[in-house]
Structures are given as C-alpha cells and as structure tokens.
C-alpha cells in the first residue's frame, strides 16, 4: 500500500459512504479503502460472532470486501453500503458455517453440527453446570458457545441487534425479513439464553 493511499484513506472519515461508493465504482481504489477502513471492524466482529473462529472470520471478511467491490454496480443505494456489506458478511458466514459443518460430518470422529441434526438442539450448555463454580470469563465463553448453538436466524438477529447494536429495521433489510420477525428472533434467542443461564444470572 502506498503512502499516498494511506494518507488519502485517512482522509475519508468525513466523506459520506455514497460518495466513496461512487468513486469506487469509477475505479478509485483509495475510496474503496476508505470504506474498508470504515467497516472492517464491524464486519470482523459480526463474522467472528457468527463463526466463532478468528481465522475463518478474517477469511470471510476479506471475501466479503472482494465481493462487495466486484458487485458495487448492483448496489442501488450507495448510502446503504454498510448494511449491504454486513449482509454479505452475514450470508457468507452462514455459508461458511454450513460448509464447515459438512466437513465435520464427513469426519468420523468429529461431532455433527446442530444444523444437520434435523434441527434438534444440543443438550443445554451442557457445559453450563449450575452447581459448578465458574469465573466470569468462563461464563462468557459458555455464553458465546450457547449463542453459536442458536438456530441460524436467532443467532444472526441476536448478533446484529444485541452485539452490533444495529437497528431492527436495518437487520430486517439485511436478513430479508420483517422487523417483527427480527424482533421475534432476538426475543426468542434472549429467552432461550436466559433460561439456559438462569443459575448464573
């Protein structure tokens, strides 16, 4: 990366997304770098929370930005680049999870992912033993695992709403569903987690 590009990319914080998108469409890679800088943290956090694996998350984020760049022409509302990108990240993460689960099911000694068990949930944080003493970090770790075991839509909705703090309306557009459906998935996820962690909370 050239020094000039670094300097220009650093200038982008005040520039609206729409302007950066239009410049990127014209082939201005510096403008696109500004968009990467603006959204890479959020994209990485979303991917990590959906994949629970840092390396996988980094791969998905890179792939998402590459796809976003090559498909910029299909972005009708340039001002909505952020939501559009996170939707790509979310969908790619979901695909990655499925592929990963398939790889695991191919392996005789690896446990199958929940999504390929006819929708049945794994036993409760199994791990979550009410009688056991658990440190705060252990509880968080178990919570992260419990979130990963949530059904896809619940997990996506919870991650985007409760962790990424995106408005439900935005999430609804990202997931291609209604605001009411998002609200329901977030609620169902929270309720399930509350019940699972009742003795820790």
């Amino acid at each position: 990366m050239s020094g000039g590009r670094e300097a220009k990319a650093a200038d982008s914080p005040g520039v609206p997304d729409a302007q950066l998108v239009r410049a990127s469409k014209r082939g201005d890679l510096t403008a696109f770098e500004g968009l990467v800088e603006r959204y890479q943290r959020r994209a990485t956090a979303v991917a990590y929370r959906l994949l629970s694996n840092r390396e996988d998350a980094m791969d998905v984020v890179q792939d998402a930005f590459l796809r976003a760049y090559s498909q910029l022409d299909s972005l009708v509302k340039p001002a909505r680049f952020g939501a559009w990108l996170l939707r790509i990240v979310s969908n790619l993460s979901l695909n990655f999870r499925r592929a990963r689960a398939l790889r695991r099911t191919d392996s005789l000694d690896a446990p199958a992912d929940d999504e390929f068990r006819g929708g049945m949930s794994r036993p409760d944080p199994g791990a979550v033993n009410p009688a056991a003493e658990a440190s705060a970090s252990e509880v968080k770790q178990r919570l992260a695992e419990a979130i990963e075991r949530l059904p896809n839509l619940q997990r996506q909705a919870l991650v985007l709403f409760a962790i990424e703090k995106l408005p439900q309306k935005e999430i609804a557009k990202m997931l291609g569903s209604s605001v009411e459906a998002v609200k329901w998935h977030v609620f169902a996820a929270r309720k399930k987690l509350k019940e699972q962690f009742k003795d820790y909370l």
């Binding site: 990366m1 590009r5 990319a9 890679l29 696109f32 770098e33 990467v36 800088e37 890479q40 943290r41 990485t44 956090a45 990590y48 929370r49 629970s52 840092r54 998350a57 980094m58 984020v61 890179q62 930005f65 590459l66 760049y69 090559s70 949930s121 036993p123 409760d124 979550v128 009410p130 509880v139 968080k140 919570l143 992260a144 979130i147 059904p151 619940q154 919870l158 409760a162 962790i163 990424e164 009411e180 609200k183 329901w184 977030v186 609620f187 169902a188 996820a189 929270r190 309720k191 399930k192 987690l193 509350k194 019940e195 699972q196 962690f197 009742k198 909370l201």
Partner: protein
Amino acid sequence: MNTTNSPDPQDLPRGPDREDPDLLLCDYLDGDLSRRERLRLERRIKAEEPLRDDLRRYGMLSGLIDELAEEGVEGVDYDLQRAEIISAIERKALLNPPRRRAMILRPRFWVTAAAASILLAVSAGLLVFGLYGGPADVPVAEMVMSGGAPAERGRQEISVQIAPPDLAELPIEMDADPHPGEPAGTIAVSFGAPSAGADTVGETMVVY
C-alpha cells in the same frame, strides 16, 4: 433441551405476544415500550418478585452479550487486514481486467443511435423535399417494353428509358404485364439513356 419447565422459545407462538412478560421485559430494556406500557410494567415489577428476577437476569445477560462484542477480535491487525484486502483486489484486477459492457448494452449507444436516426431522417427529408422539391417533381422514367420475339425460356425484356439525360437515380416503374402469349419467366431490366428515334439500351441487368 431446557433445564427448566419454561417453554422453549422455538415452541412459542409466532408473532409477538404483547402480554408475554418476557417480551415486555425485553422491550422494556430496549426502550420499545410506550409510556403507558412502561408505567404498567413498572408497577408489576414492583409487585411481582419473579418479574424482578427475570428483569435482573435479562439485564445481566445483556451486559454479558455486550462484553462479547469485542471478545475474540481484540488484537486484530486491521491495517494488515485492509492492506491484504486491497492487494487482493489489485491482484484480481490484474488477472481479470474488468470486461467492458457490450457496446449495444451501454445507454450511450442507444442515445447516440437515436440521435443518428433522427439526423438521418431529417437529412433524407431535406434531400428529397429540399433538393428535388419532393417526389412529385421527379420525372418518371419512361418505360418501353421491348419489341421482337421473346427469348428462349420466355425471357421478357423490359427496356427503361431514363428521361433525364444525366442518368440521375430515378425510381423505376416496371410494368409487370408480360407480352401476350409469353409465359412468365426471367425478367430483364435494361437501363439506358434514350437516343434519337431508338430504344437504345446502354446497360442491361437481369433480374431473376
């Protein structure tokens, strides 16, 4: 599998049940209740201990989820990640240069084509109506059916005398009626300038 007897959220009726205490508590924490709903719930919370416990649990759960936001991604070298993304785009661009849209798919093509069509139509109009004063003024070529016996295989000759001596491009009117008794067949159309007292033919073109 739940460790408690409470219903699995998966089994709950689809769509929000505004009276579900859990939903009310979540909406309360999210600030999604109307003032009236909020005041009513707060009265219930004061009066009902299980509701207070659940509110505390949802609050703690939200706190834990908040703390998860940065968990696992701390220490990521975002500068390196960004550089890798941009490098990957540059490599991809070098390996697969963007294909230009087909000319016919570009909006500019259609605008240009439309403008050219209009210009052509206007020019043709000016040429016909302006230069020659309109089709009515164009002298119609005189057509003379050739005399003599028809050629083999019933060839029919049509001689066209161009009236203007300058051999200008003129519309040709052909009489398709064959000679009496002649079978239909090849039609020969001849062009030529008239000469004194004869049906002189300068060039002949055979049209099958």
